[in-house]
């Protein structure tokens, strides 16, 4: 145990020193710390009853019967536990660092100690998550209902923690056992999976039966969650759901008993896990390697790389379906390449871009559209907000592109053309998004069909051009996406520049429409002309920076 403790303590001390030695690293850290603290303080203030929640819409919860709240909590907890354990058959959740694999695992340090320390660290982490979530979400909610959180809130937190630990221990055990007994224990595995699956299946059966009988979906769901098989298989989740309502309802003797049972289960599952004789190092190899790679990518803001890894994990995939045929030479060929790469790497995002707007519009139509009928013709102005949002993702793409700066710079293409190709690439995706969004509006909400929508469609790509060409500037200024501080600064600058880029459009829009009372189309044309000018300036500036940019220096 001694070497392990030495390792942990030295690492903690060195990390603190490392973070505090440079303001570049300290500032983002402090900001994040302040953010978390503000949540915690707010949460504890709710707990002690100092402030009342700002959101009065908690009234919705006030009108829900207690059984419903309990049923919702129960469904979330039981489905969550089931998924975690189900997944444990194929991939584990015990993640060690690569350094552990390379340097700790070969040493004679007892495997049991290594496991113990790892579990201990995980438990602390989970306990922290539960407390944090409870303070952030639970505290204001209870406060909205006018109940004091303590002392019973503490009981709720510890009950959820016990359930979480049980699930975690069991899933570790399942994964370890089935990694080695893959063939031998196949039947047992199938049995456990069936046992886990039987709850939801009977629940659905019960629910449908009840729905046919009563015609009330609400009653059927309640009935299904209370059906006997579900109650038996997911008893711990049920206890936990009840205990989460302790601040509201108080605690009965039976619930105290359940609370003790939850902790007994946590203890028993821990003992089960520790009693396993298998080599716990091996099951963690694959997952740890993958996890380390992903974390590294994320830390460096290399999202495209992470996506490529995800593609790789699925195995070599035949890229069937639509593809973009090659076109162009020089800078236009560069544009083709960027379009294709982005399309291939983020297919699921492209699909989301098609589906989400339709869904959003659909929901709007069926919820608030009736109450705001006179505003609907002006609703397309939201498109400008969509443009702004989509522009914010552009710098990340740009910086990913600049990872290949060595190649880009050695090409016989003028720097500004390289930048223009990158910008146009992003503008094309943005325009596609805008078109889908406006198409959905046109189709689902007829009131929006009119000059505002059409002029917004005309103006959007040019606004996008202005925005994106400006956000490209921090992208080339701080191209090292392996550096946390550069990522941070570049993100901050792009946010600022995008907001700056919108100003001409807003000013011109107000002038045209309110002072000179021009038509929407005229306004759109004038604004677009201004945006082309802004965009051209942006491309020129980033081109100049890119020309002087030395890809070999860090």
């Amino acid at each position: 145990m001694k070497p392990l403790i030495y390792l942990e303590i030295r690492q903690i001390i060195n990390s603190i020193k490392y973070a505090t030695r440079s303001p570049k690293r300290l500032i983002p850290l402090l900001l994040m710390g302040a953010w978390i603290c503000s949540w915690l303080i707010q949460g504890t203030a709710f707990v002690s009853g100092d402030i009342k929640p700002r959101h009065t819409d908690l009234g919705l919860i006030q009108h829900l019967p207690v059984e419903t709240i309990e049923a919702i909590i129960f469904i979330v907890l039981s489905i969550g536990s089931m998924m975690v354990m189900y997944n444990a058959f194929s991939s584990g959740t015990m993640v060690f660092s690569l350094a552990h694999i390379d340097f700790l695992f070969p040493t004679p340090v007892s495997r049991r100690h290594v496991l113990l320390l790892q579990l201990f660290k995980d438990y602390i982490k989970y306990g922290f998550y539960v407390t944090f979530l409870f303070l952030v979400i639970g505290a204001p909610m209870y406060s909205g209902l006018g109940v004091a959180l303590f002392p019973w809130g503490l009981l709720s937190i510890t009950a959820v923690t016990a359930l979480l630990l049980t699930v975690v221990n069991l899933s570790h055990t399942i994964y370890i056992v089935f990694t080695f007994g893959f063939e031998r224990l196949r039947q047992a595995g199938i049995l456990i999976k069936i046992a886990l699956g039987i709850g939801p299946v009977t629940a659905v059966g019960f629910g449908i039966y009840q729905y046919i009988q009563t015609g009330s979906s609400y009653a059927s769901i309640l009935w299904a969650t209370n059906s006997p098989v579900v109650s038996f298989v997911f008893a711990p989740a049920r206890w936990c759901a009840t205990l989460l309502l302790a601040p509201l309802l108080g605690v009965t003797a039976e619930e105290w008993f359940h609370f003790v049972c939850l902790w007994l289960l946590a203890g028993a599952s821990f003992a089960l896990l520790m009693s396993r004789r298998e080599n716990i190092y091996e099951p963690s190899l694959g997952i740890s390697t993958r996890f380390a790679l992903r974390r590294q990518r994320m830390r460096f803001g290399d999202f495209a790389g992470a996506r490529v890894d995800a593609l790789k994990e699925k195995g070599t995939r035949h890229l069937g379906g639509l593809d973009i045929p090659p076109f162009g030479a020089g800078a236009t060929a560069l544009l083709w390449k960027s379009l294709v790469v982005r399309y291939r790497v983020s297919r699921s995002q492209v699909a989301l871009m098609l589906i989400v707007p339709v869904l959003v519009i659909f929901v709007i139509k069926h919820t608030i559209a009736d109450q705001i009928t006179d505003m609907l013709p002006y609703a397309p102005a939201v498109l400008l907000y969509v443009v702004w949002l989509l522009s914010l993702t552009a710098p990340t793409e740009m910086r990913n592109e600049l990872k290949q700066a060595n190649i880009l710079k050695s090409m016989p293409i003028a720097a500004w053309k390289v930048m223009l190709a990158q910008t146009v690439n992003s503008v094309i995706y943005l325009t596609a998004g805008v078109l889908v969004f406006s198409g959905a509006m046109w189709w689902i909400i007829p009131e929006t069909r009119g000059p505002v929508l059409l002029s917004c469609i005309i103006g959007a790509p040019f606004l996008g051009f202005a925005n994106i060409s400006l956000t490209a500037i921090p992208g080339v200024l701080y191209p090292q996406n392996r550096d946390v501080a550069q990522n941070y600064i570049s993100g901050l600058l792009s946010f600022f520049l995008v907001s700056l880029a919108v100003i001409p459009s807003v000013v011109l829009g107000v002038l045209c429409l309110i002072f000179f009372r021009t038509s929407y189309y005229t306004a759109a044309l004038i604004i677009s002309a201004a945006n082309i000018a802004v965009g051209a300036a942006g491309v020129t500036i980033s081109g100049l920076i890119f020309r002087r940019y030395d890809p070999t220096g860090d």
């Binding site: 001694k2 070497p3 030495y6 390792l7 030295r10 690492q11 060195n14 990390s15 490392y18 660092s97 690569l98 350094a99 694999i101 390379d102 340097f103 700790l104 695992f105 070969p106 040493t107 004679p108 340090v109 007892s110 495997r111 990694t179 080695f180 893959f182 298998e278 080599n279 190092y281 091996e282 190899l285 380390a292």
Partner: protein
């Protein structure tokens, strides 16, 4: 002395090592050669107890790894393939942690100092591993392997990414370890190193031995003249065609 008998390793359904048997005697350097995915790393990971053999016996100086794991592991030093050391330790602390883990703290200071001088790490002993280059991390991994006095030394592709001076030092360390009577097993792609450094070479393909012996024996096995290079022998023996399936010895 390292003895591996009938070692078999399945990762779920993938067969990575197929009933492999070999010895590394005292004062001997054995090279483990084979194309990518042949199972070299898996063999070394079995011997160091990182993965659990599906079948077979591993003995380190007569100590059985599966029944007496901690004792067996104490006798082994291991340099992993493309090592990822603890980034948040300093070079010195890293060496110290390894020595603590192997419970060999006496005369640690002198040994650490010598090793750090040998591998150009002395100036960086207070620096975080985070700031080391790839080659320096490799050197640190080698220093970690030699900071405890193990009798069996395993090195997984140790020569990748270090500068000529580092390679020279490592070769010196390996030969002097051999003179001290240690058993050394090196997995490598670098055929010329294997040719010059190793007393015996084991060629693996798909987890099984296709040939074993010193250079002359390998030439004979591949039915090539002595003027053929190890590269030719390697390519012939690891080729996919069935004509290379060798007659049993």
């Amino acid at each position: 002395m390292l003895r591996v008998s009938n070692l078999t390793k399945y990762y779920k359904k993938t067969l990575a090592v197929d009933s492999l048997s070999f010895d590394v005697r005292d004062g001997e350097i054995v090279g483990l050669l084979g194309p990518n995915g042949a199972g070299k790393t898996t063999v070394l990971r079995c011997v160091t107890g990182i993965v659990q053999p599906t079948d077979g016996v591993i003995e380190v100086e007569g100590v059985n790894l599966s029944t007496n794991e901690e004792d067996a592991k104490r006798r082994i030093a291991f340099v992993p393939e493309v090592p990822t050391p603890y980034e948040m330790l300093t070079v010195y602390e890293h060496l110290r942690f390894i020595a603590m883990a192997y419970q060999t703290m006496d005369s640690f200071e002198e040994r650490a100092e010598t090793l750090m001088h040998r591998f150009d790490l002395y100036d960086k002993r207070g620096d975080l591993v985070l700031s080391l280059s790839k080659g320096m991390k490799q050197k640190l991994a080698i220093a970690c392997a030699f900071v405890h006095d193990a009798h069996v030394v395993l090195l997984d592709e140790p020569l990748i990414g270090i500068d000529p001076r580092g390679v020279h030092e490592l070769k010196e360390m390996i030969t002097s370890a051999k003179q001290e009577g240690k058993s050394i097993l090196i997995s490598t792609h670098m055929l010329d190193t294997a040719e010059r450094l190793c007393d015996r070479i084991i060629i693996l393909r798909k987890g099984a031995i296709v040939a074993e012996g010193n250079l002359a024996e390998l030439h004979e096995r591949a039915r090539m003249g002595t003027d053929a290079s190890l590269e030719d022998v390697f390519l012939t023996l690891t080729e996919e065609s069935p004509t290379n399936l060798l007659a049993p010895q």
